[in-house]
Each structure stands twice: as structure tokens, then as C-alpha cells.
């Protein structure tokens, strides 16, 4: 994934804008400087990882709406603090950039195992679930997963599908109702900006 770190704002903006409109791999790739292009297996890995976190249910999952590519762009631009130097863990050493930041995508690929893409789906799930469990039980060597997972959530719930089909989206509520009963059908609002910022 080296060489894809410092893409220009405009190139990345174009990439993400294209994803939003039509999350087709071919379209995305055409907009990229070939030198900056993440290798196909890297895009495939991130897409599958995203889809395991947020799978298809009665609404499409993260893989189908281009979250994998969003995560790669977001990592290149340091969202979720990913361009800052990570807490030091000896296992990160092979994936540190010259500026001290961690190549999260390269780290994830290695952490899941070089054979991960060729594993049966159930084993891919189990390895990712194990990494998730380690990261959220405080294992410092698994900590970078938390930022990647956060970016998967951001990519999904700020997509049109995640934001307005999986959750509710209302740009112009028109009124404030302070007391609404919760029912089995109640869904959160992706447009509840206070909840997004401070929840």
C-alpha cells in the first residue's frame, strides 16, 4: 500500500464522490493515478472486512455500498487519528511509516493472516471476530482495529443506504417533539447530529 499515502485532496475527493454515486471498482480505478492505486487484493480485503462488520440483512451491508474503498481513502487522509503515531507496540514496527504513523491497511492484512482471503467465509469471520474481541478487551497489539472499525461505521452510516435506509434520515424535521414512544419499529436517526457527535 506504499505510495498511496499522500494523494491530493482533489484526487481523493473525486474518488469518494464517485463511490457515493456508483460504487463500482472500475469507475473508482479510472479516477486514480495508477501509482496511487491500492492493489486489488487490498481493496477486496477491506471490502470483505467491512461486510463482515455490517453485513447484508434486510438492508444492504457495508460491502455493497463501497465502504471498503472509503476506508482506504479515509486511512490515507488520517481520519480517526490514523495518521498520528500509534501507541508503541513492538508488533507494529514493520508497518510504521517514516512519519511514525501506522499503515493500518497493511497491518490489518498481516494481522488477519496472509491466507485470510483464501479461507472459507466462516473462518474469515472467526479470525476477524477474534481480532475485534482482542481490540475491545484492551489488547494493545490489536488496538489499531478500533480505528479501522470506526471508519467502517462512518463509511456505512454516512452512505445513503446506511444513513437513510438502515437508519432514518430527516434533514428538515420541521418540529421538535420531546416525547415519542419507542416501538419495535423505531430506528435511530443518522441526522441526529448531537447523537452523532456526542453519543
Amino acid at each position: 500500500m506504499t505510495g498511496w499515502n499522500r494523494r491530493s485532496f482533489l484526487a481523493a475527493a473525486a474518488l469518494v464522490a464517485v463511490q457515493a454515486a456508483a460504487p463500482s471498482g472500475a469507475e473508482v480505478l479510472r479516477r486514480l493515478d495508477p501509482k496511487e492505486e491500492p492493489p486489488p487484493h487490498c481493496r477486496m480485503l477491506m471490502r470483505l472486512v467491512a461486510d463482515l462488520v455490517i453485513p447484508d440483512t434486510d438492508t444492504p451491508g457495508a460491502g455493497a455500498v463501497g465502504v471498503g474503498d472509503f476506508v482506504l481513502v479515509a486511512l490515507a487522509h488520517g481520519l480517526e487519528g490514523t495518521r498520528r503515531a500509534p501507541a508503541t507496540d513492538p508488533s507494529f514496527a514493520p508497518y510504521l511509516r517514516a512519519d511514525g504513523s501506522l499503515d493500518h491497511a497493511g497491518w490489518l492484512e498481516s494481522r488477519l493472516g496472509e491466507d485470510w482471503l483464501s479461507l472459507p467465509p466462516a473462518q474469515r469471520h472467526d479470525r476477524l471476530a477474534a481480532l475485534d474481541a482482542a481490540a475491545f478487551s484492551g489488547d494493545p497489539a490489536a488496538a489499531p482495529w478500533r480505528a479501522i472499525k470506526a471508519l467502517i461505521l462512518t463509511g456505512y452510516y454516512t452512505s445513503e443506504v446506511g444513513g437513510s435506509q438502515e437508519l432514518n434520515y430527516e434533514l428538515v424535521p420541521g418540529r421538535f417533539d420531546p416525547k415519542v414512544p419507542v416501538t419495535p419499529e423505531t430506528r435511530a436517526y443518522s441526522s441526529d447530529w448531537t447523537a452523532v457527535d456526542f453519543g
Binding site: A20, P55, T57, E166, F176, V180, P181, A188
Partner: protein
């Protein structure tokens, strides 16, 4: 000299107070030049991101963190700064300032037509005599030359025009205003209000008083409960220069507006002891221009107004314009601000809310009023905050993957409640603004240097605030998770003020009780720079009231020939 650039009055800065000065002076019949350093933003036409969804934004509303780190290192810390609103904040790399070695100060700025009126938090509170009497009472700073009674009719006037929604509570420390109907408390806040008041009758949780319209007013639409105000609001539902004062000033036919014009100096004539106009740099053509006027109002924002006075030093006034006292730049303040307590609020799971209320709640000051019951401090603190539910972002902190995890994030999360303290900041001479002559900006003007630190009073107030917030949220039925008792960096509250303080004595203050320079009768400073103390509630409404009052006084002096 371009004779067409000769005015009755020049107003420097088009933000919250500049808009008011322009409105009041033009409505009094004066020919006014309103001059703004930033770009023009037209109401309704130029709020580019107002109706965008996250999926229409290059970085989904989160923004390019890399860019922000490089060029918006301070502004990105503002709670209203997002990819949607970044165009309403300055580029820090292009607008540098200096801080002293022991100073942490986040200076949040908006250089554009409307200034910070586009991005402000809209909380609108009257100050009381506990506030105007604070300096006299405990001896910090210099006594205000005015009291609440001097300002009350001007508060009426401002609220009548801008529209402030709120609930009357009859509290002497937070006088009621002329309110539009209030937004409602949600179920958790309503319960908290009742439980806190039952335990401590003097602690009154009430809805925030906000400059958002709850019904149509003077051609401005009611608030749509979007709570994305800082993008700009084409409904005109919150007070901004664009929605409110600028159209009024323009309707008089007396206003000339020049944008992209950074004022570098105020001209002063030592023979007449009057200012004669201003000079600016046209940022599009890089040319220097000037205009003349019979009076000048400084409304550049507290620190920039002081910067301008310091940079306008002349042989006659070597320490800065209107600085015979030597106190210009000193006694700057910002509220000491921290999250005092955050709690989980069980028992309300069957309820949620709809819409985005553009205000939180407030618990007005209750310490150090009739009884000096502050522990280690002599002034007040108040709380703002509210109860909210989490949404998908809470999933960032939770383990789990797959369909169950997705199903969980579909539901509104548990209720939480937060109380954020704003503590009165004692005015200190050591907290001050100076020019850093070793560092200049792109126009060759010395940069502003900020030296600022909170002290024992603010730390003691926030320690007590944390203890109080914890006991209140506990009494309200919450389980407190965490809280802090140390202030954020200076500037965090975005209530930076002082530096050209008001006072009765020309030897110890810059401005008199009319916001008029003691040294220069036709110079008025009516933004936050004029403040002699900070109170513990939001100051913008008071700045507006002082501006309207000063404008009326200036007009009367002009008409009588006194200036």
C-alpha cells in the same frame, strides 16, 4: 483620496455587533461604511452545504483530517467545525497568531461577511447586577460604570428584534427577557429539572435561551429543528447578520458594504484628538485603500479590535490608540469551561424524541449570590448541557461484528445527560494581548500575541462545579460515568473578551460607560473587547445591547455637534 469614501460612520467588522452598529447608525440616518475583512456570503444564495447529506460530501461530513491537521489546526477543535461548515472558519495556516510559552489558547475565528454570527451557539442571556457588580464586590478588575438598569431597555430592544426563545423563570441572577415560546425539555431533562429542584430549590434547570425563532417573525421563518445552524440557514431562523441586521441596514439606503477588506490602521488626528477614518488592504487586488468618517465603531471581534488599536499606534499615542491608561490589551478573559459530569440516565428507555432541538438546557448560577458559598472562589459558574441518546457512533466504542451488531445500532441508544460548566473568569492584568513585532502576517502586520492562563479562582470554581454536577445528576437518577475539574485551553468557551475595558476612570480603563474611548470622543468599541468582567453566561446578547446603546449615544453626540 476618493471623496466617495467619506462617511458619517465607519463600522469595522460585520459580525454580531458590527451588524447591530450598522443597523442602528443607518436607521438614525447616518451614511455608514460597513467594512469586512472576509468574503461576501449572501443570505440564502451562498450557504453551499446547507442542504447536503453526508453522502454528498467528499469526506462524508467528517472532512479531510490531513488537511485539517495542516491548515485548520485550531479551528478543527471547534464543536461546530465540520466538513459542512469549514468554509465558515478561518484557515489557521493563513491567519497565524502567537501565544506565550505558558499559554494554550484556541482562538476560534470566522472571517467572512457575518463573522461569527453565522457560526455562534446562539445562547442569549441577560447579565444581572451580580455580574455588573462583581468587580466592585471582590476587588478584581475595575468596577463597571453601568448596572443592569442601564441595559435593561436595550436588552428589550435587542430581544424584540432578533427573536429569543426561552422560558421565564423569575431568577434575579438570570433576568427574564422578552421571549418567544420555548423549546421543550425532553423527558429526561424534565425529570431532572423536577428532581434537582426538589432537592435544591435554588438550582433551576431550564431550557436554553436561544436566538432561534419558534415562530415566524418579520419575514424570517421559524426554526426547522435541523440544528445545523453553522452551515447557514436560508429560513433565516437564527439570528445572524445576514438574516437580521444587514437587511435592516440595507433597507435604509444608507449602507455601503465593502468585503475582502482587512483594516490595518485607524487614522488619528492629534490636533483634533479625533479619529478620521480607516485604512485597509483589499485582499483581492492587494491594494491599500482608505475612507474617512466622523466616527468609527470597532466591531472586529474582541481580540481583533484590540489588535487594530495596538497596530494604530502613532507618535501621539505610541502605546496604541486610545491607550493613555496603558491597560489596552490587558485583562482579557474567557470562561473556564469543562465537562463537569456525564451520566447514564436509566428509566426512560420507552421514550425517544423527534427533531433536532437547536439548544440545550441551562442551570443558571446559584453560588456566591446572597451567601458567599463558593469554595475557594468568589464568583459564579453555570451549567449548559442536556440529555441525549446515542446513535451509530457509539458502536465505535463497542465490540461485536455482524448482523446482531448491526441490529443493535439500528436502535436509539441509552439516554445520557451531560453538564458542562462555564465559570466566571477573573480579570487579570497578566492575561493580555500584545503585538509580536518579530512575526508578521501576509500583509506585513505584526501578529497578535496572546498571553493567558486561568488561575486559582477558576480551578476552584470548576472543582466545585464537578462536585455539584455529580450530585445533581445522581439526584436526577443518573449513574455518573466521568467528569473533569480543569478548564480546557483558553478560548474553548469561544467567549474571549476584554482588552479595552470599560470603566469610570480614564487612568485605568479604555472606554467610558458609553463604550466610547476616554481618549478619543468619536471612537467606539462595542464588541467583546469592552468587557470589564466575564460573568458566567454567554455574552453576545450583552454585546448587542451595549452596541445599540452606544450607537444611540454616538448619534446624539453627532447631532448635537459634540463630535
Amino acid at each position: 483620496m476618493d471623496q466617495s469614501l467619506n462617511f458619517d460612520a465607519i463600522v469595522v467588522g460585520s459580525g454580531i455587533t458590527g451588524g447591530w452598529a450598522a443597523k442602528e447608525l443607518t436607521e438614525a440616518g447616518l451614511k455608514v461604511l460597513l467594512i469586512e475583512r472576509g468574503r461576501k456570503i449572501e443570505h440564502q444564495l451562498d450557504y453551499d452545504t446547507e442542504m447536503k447529506a453526508p453522502w454528498e460530501m467528499p469526506f462524508r461530513g467528517e472532512g479531510d483530517a490531513d488537511l485539517y491537521e495542516r491548515e485548520y489546526a485550531v479551528q478543527r477543535l471547534n464543536r461546530h467545525f465540520t466538513e459542512f461548515t469549514q468554509g465558515h472558519f478561518v484557515n489557521d495556516a493563513q491567519n497565524p497568531y502567537q501565544t506565550g510559552p505558558d499559554t494554550q489558547f484556541t482562538w476560534f475565528r470566522s472571517y467572512q461577511l457575518g463573522g461569527r454570527s453565522l457560526t455562534w451557539g446562539r445562547q442569549s442571556y441577560r447579565w444581572s447586577d451580580y455580574d455588573f457588580g462583581a468587580n466592585k464586590r471582590d476587588g478584581h478588575g475595575t468596577d463597571w460604570p453601568i448596572r443592569y438598569a442601564d441595559l435593561a431597555p436595550w436588552y428589550d430592544k435587542i430581544e424584540d428584534f432578533i427573536g429569543v426563545s426561552g422560558a421565564a423563570e423569575g431568577l434575579p441572577q438570570l433576568p427574564d427577557g422578552k421571549f418567544l415560546p420555548p423549546f421543550a425539555l425532553n423527558v429526561v431533562e424534565q425529570a431532572a429539572r423536577e428532581r434537582i429542584m426538589a432537592a435544591w430549590p435554588e438550582r433551576r434547570l431550564t431550557i436554553g435561551r436561544t436566538a432561534n425563532l419558534t415562530r415566524e417573525k418579520d419575514g424570517r421563518g421559524p426554526c426547522q429543528s435541523r440544528s445545523i445552524c453553522a452551515r447557514g440557514c436560508s429560513y433565516g431562523a437564527y439570528f445572524s447578520t445576514q438574516s437580521s441586521t444587514l437587511p435592516a441596514a440595507q433597507a435604509t439606503g444608507n449602507l455601503t458594504l465593502i468585503t475582502d477588506a482587512a483594516v490595518e490602521k485607524i487614522d488619528y488626528d492629534p490636533k483634533t484628538r479625533r479619529v478620521t477614518g480607516v485604512r485597509w488592504i483589499d485582499s483581492k487586488t492587494r491594494t491599500r485603500r482608505q475612507a474617512t468618517a466622523r466616527l468609527v465603531f470597532l466591531n472586529a471581534g474582541a481580540f481583533n479590535s484590540v489588535h487594530l488599536l495596538l497596530n494604530s499606534a502613532t507618535e501621539a499615542m505610541p502605546g496604541g490608540l486610545a491607550n493613555s491608561s496603558g491597560v489596552l490589551g490587558t485583562h482579557i478573559m474567557d470562561h473556564a469551561n469543562t465537562l463537569s459530569a456525564a451520566a447514564i440516565m436509566p428509566g426512560f428507555e420507552q421514550w425517544t424524541s423527534f427533531g433536532n432541538r437547536p439548544t440545550g438546557v441551562v442551570i443558571p448560577r446559584y453560588r456566591n449570590m446572597e451567601t458567599m458559598d463558593g469554595t475557594g472562589h468568589t464568583r459564579g459558574f453555570s451549567f449548559q448541557g442536556g440529555a441525549l441518546q446515542s446513535t451509530w457512533t457509539a458502536g465505535k466504542r463497542e465490540g461485536g461484528i455482524g448482523a446482531d451488531y448491526k441490529a443493535k445500532l439500528r436502535k436509539p441508544g441509552p439516554w445520557r445527560m451531560v453538564l458542562v460548566a462555564f465559570a466566571d473568569c477573573v480579570p487579570r492584568a497578566s492575561n493580555r494581548l500584545t503585538l509580536d513585532r518579530t512575526k508578521v502576517d501576509a500583509n506585513g502586520i505584526p501578529q497578535l500575541r496572546i498571553d493567558f492562563a486561568f488561575g486559582a479562582e477558576e480551578n476552584a470554581a470548576l472543582a466545585q462545579a464537578k462536585a455539584d454536577a455529580t450530585e445533581m445528576l445522581t439526584k436526577a437518577g443518573g449513574h455518573v460515568m466521568f467528569g473533569f475539574d480543569r478548564p480546557g485551553a483558553g478560548g474553548t468557551a469561544i467567549h474571549e473578551m476584554g482588552g479595552a475595558r470599560m470603566g469610570s476612570d480614564p487612568a485605568t480603563s479604555v472606554l467610558n460607560k458609553w463604550s466610547q474611548a476616554h481618549d478619543i470622543a468619536n471612537l467606539f468599541v462595542t464588541d467583546g473587547a469592552q468587557m470589564s468582567s466575564s460573568a458566567c453566561q454567554n455574552p453576545s446578547l450583552t454585546y448587542m445591547a451595549l452596541t445599540a446603546r452606544a450607537a444611540a449615544h454616538a448619534v446624539s453626540l453627532l447631532k448635537s455637534g459634540a463630535i
